[in-house]
Amino acid sequence: MKGGTTVPPFTHNMLKLNGITKRFGSLVANDSIDLEVRQGEIHALLGENGAGKSTLMNILYGLYTPDEGTIEWKGKPVRIDGPGHAIALGIGMVHQHFMLIPVFSVAENIVLGMEPGGAVLDMKQANERVREISNQFGLEVDPEDKIESISVGQQQRVEILKALYRGAELLILDEPTAVLTPQEVVELGKIMKSLVAQGRTIIIITHKLKEVLHLADRVSVIRRGRKITTVEAQGRTEAELANLMVGREVELKVDKQEATPGASVLEVSHLSAKNDRGLLALKDVSFQVRAGEIVGIAGVDGNGQSELIACMTGLRKPAGGTVRVNGKDLTARSPKEVREAGVGHIPEDRQRRGLVLDFSISENAALGDHRKFTRYGFLNYGKMADLAERIVKAFDVRPPEPEYMARALSGGNQQKVIVGREIMRDPDLMLAVQPTRGLDVGAIEFIHRRLVEERDNGKAVLLVSLELDEVMNLADRILVMYKGQIVAEVAGQEATEENLGLMMAGGGARG
């Protein structure tokens, strides 16, 4: 190329990825991805869960080594050996799961690895530096607070400060809004603008369409490990981006009839509970779910949903109030008693709760009811295999092998085993918590249809989800949780993202 590169008039590339490929065993996580990020822009990386966004960014941050492809940083080819190297280049990353040490102070976390004062740790100088940067970018935190004592939103600021302290010019934010309240999201938006105004560049990884439209200048869409396109964010619609992301027309609505609710199945009254830190996280919650309806619980993560479900399933002792199913008092009963009373539970964390990963599908099919799979007091593996056989057929689990280890299944298939097991138990009440988190669109549609079917078969379904779309699509009634309380109830048809969003931020009255 004679006469220099062809740089567009007002922008130049901060970062250029050429043909990045990364394989994990037989899985191609990144397939020859090209990407250009301009100086001073907010660049969104949009894709479904598992599309390969995080892998790509981990390569950029030096946590993974690419199998093929090259990285150009400020016009020069680089090989990024590790996070230390990425930091030295000026690349900073805020991980989805914060990388903070709970027992260390804010400042200790920020300066770790790049401590002021040489061998002797100068905490006074560290605290001052942290105050300086937080003032400069409007990121308010107290450097001397312990991480374990500050809020999630503040922890995120600490993460951003960590990158800025290291002189990051490019910031990668991995799903930064997943744990934030709508207000905190607005705050974050402001912080991002302030960062860009002061010359920083931002890549934001997300699967949320609205965020892309709100925050980003340009969007690169990743689908199944490949980059589909890069477009300007301005003037795009959600539907357009959704189709790019999924690769086909997306049914944004689930087909379902009007609900015909029957008798009340679940009655929760004045339920309160403490969280792991001993603080009251669920405060005087009352509601009911009737047969033949899906009740959705909307809310930002950490507003008491987990404690609510834990209390209802016997995994946590409530501080007060009662839980009744079919008139039977299940307050503070063991998980075993709750299951036996006709409650099905699709747990939030499928790998930690829903399955024993090193058990076969057969053994997992019996999980929870294993005492029933016996003959003369000994385990009856044949009976387990029969049930597993029925589950893999009815729920399209692939491969359809009852003796397969659960660990060897993909996330979607693992979830199908769980959903299948719980539905096969034929409970009167189904508690579905984040039932489709991290799944691809096919599996999501499948599971949604099965949940509606449950409802149509006269079961009571309680759906807890952080995805507003999911709640709005499935629920006949929506309860909004905020700070451990139910702050509003909305009929499914009347819900809009705007009014739910407002109420999730504490802006609604009990209605």
């Binding site: 964390d349 709760r353 024993v356 053994e363 999980l367 929870g368 294993h370 799979f373 007091g377």
Partner: protein, 366 residues
């Protein structure tokens, strides 16, 4: 992923399971040979003496089995705990308290007069075994309960309990159980409480062997054929999923620890009633518990594997002193060999590393 035929998968898994213990044993032998050479002795002479001592005659083999019996129990104890996600490093202590309990019952309890000798023996032995088993189970349960209800890691408490047992034993012996034969050992158990010796002519091989084999079978049944075993394994593999499924994690931790302690207790009681017939004062541990960890690891925490691994370590224990006597090789070499085997089974990552490197170089050269 292509579906493997059932048989080839079983064979493949079996080879996988056996390969690391076998490799580690080979490394152990090599290291042993090196030390024999350092000692200036002939490895061939040493190994001949070793083989003679271990299996040179029916009597010798009988004695090898005598060394094997406690290791089967302690190996089972450690592996049962492993299966529930617990590391029972406290087998030594459980073994010790069981010995005391067995001696107390074996010495102090009198069988009623007029009972036929056969029946009296059966009752007395059973009673003494039960006492030892219960003592071991109780001692292990302390660590289990502290883990289940106070969240304290069982390894630390097990280690602490080992030493408490050591000093407790020393105190009880000196204060209450001292035998007439002088310092350092307790009164002997009565003849009715002794396990019959002489299963192989001229050796001390006793009926504890049958108890050990039955115990291995029972452990297998419990773990893989009963709902309780299913629960123990579920807790070991995924406490979160177990809790979700209505399986009480705390209860199963205590149960698994108690069962593990019961097996350690059986080891102590059987050894006492079968071989020692009394309790000896010790200032250090006999080592069956620590060897049990090795046996469990080499045996891949499977009862059948444990029996085979116990035979290996039993042979080492039997052969060591004989090797010293016949070939002049210090028996300390045996400890080094044992340590090496355990180390290389524990650091199985080394084998993965070597295999991967081999695959890589093969790919490169291809």
């Amino acid at each position: 992923m292509a579906k493997e035929s059932g048989l080839s998968r079983v064979v493949h898994e079996a080879v996988e399971a056996v390969s690391i213990p076998v490799l580690a044993t080979i490394v152990g032998m090599i290291v042993g040979t090196v030390f024999i050479l350092i000692a200036g002795k002939s490895p061939i002479q040493a190994y001949t003496a070793f083989a003679q001592a271990v299996a040179g005659s029916p009597r010798a083999f009988g004695e090898t089995l005598v060394s094997t019996i406690p290791l089967i129990f302690t190996g089972l104890a450690v592996s049962l705990a492993f299966r529930s996600g617990l590391f029972n490093i406290g087998v030594e202590g459980q073994y010790l308290v069981a010995q005391i309990a067995a001696v107390v019952v074996g010495y102090a309890v009198k069988m009623p007069e007029g009972l036929s000798p056969g029946l009296a023996g059966l009752f007395h032995v059973t009673l003494a075994l039960l006492a030892g088993t219960a003592a071991g189970a109780f001692w292990a349960s302390i660590a289990g309960l502290l883990k289940a209800f106070r969240g304290v890691h069982e390894v630390i408490n097990s280690i602490m309990l080992n030493y408490v047992a050591l000093f407790l034993g020393s105190w009880l012996l000196n204060a209450y159980l001292k035998g007439s034969s002088g310092q350092g050992s307790s009164q002997p158990v009565q003849a009715t409480a002794a396990l019959t010796q002489g299963l192989i002519e001229g050796s001390r091989l006793h009926t504890g062997l049958w108890i050990a084999l039955v115990a291995a079978f029972v452990v297998w049944i419990i773990l893989w054929k009963t709902p309780s075993g299913y629960e123990i394994r579920a807790v070991g593999l995924s406490p979160g999923a177990a809790e979700y499924a209505g399986i009480s994690v705390g209860r199963n931790i205590v149960l698994a620890m108690a069962l593990s302690g019961a097996l350690s207790g059986l080891a102590g009681a059987v050894q006492t009633l079968g071989v020692n017939r009394r309790f000896f004062e010790t200032t250090a541990f006999v080592g069956y518990g620590f060897d049990g960890i090795a046996v469990a690891l080499v045996g891949r925490n499977h009862p059948l594997g444990v029996i085979l691994a116990a035979l290996l370590f039993g042979a080492l224990e039997r052969g060591g002193p004989q090797m010293q006597a016949a070939a002049g090789v210090p028996k300390a070499v045996i400890y080094i060999v044992q340590g090496t085997v355990i180390f290389f089974v524990a650091a199985e990552g080394i084998w993965r590393f070597l295999r991967n490197r081999k695959v890589k170089t093969e790919v490169k050269t291809a």
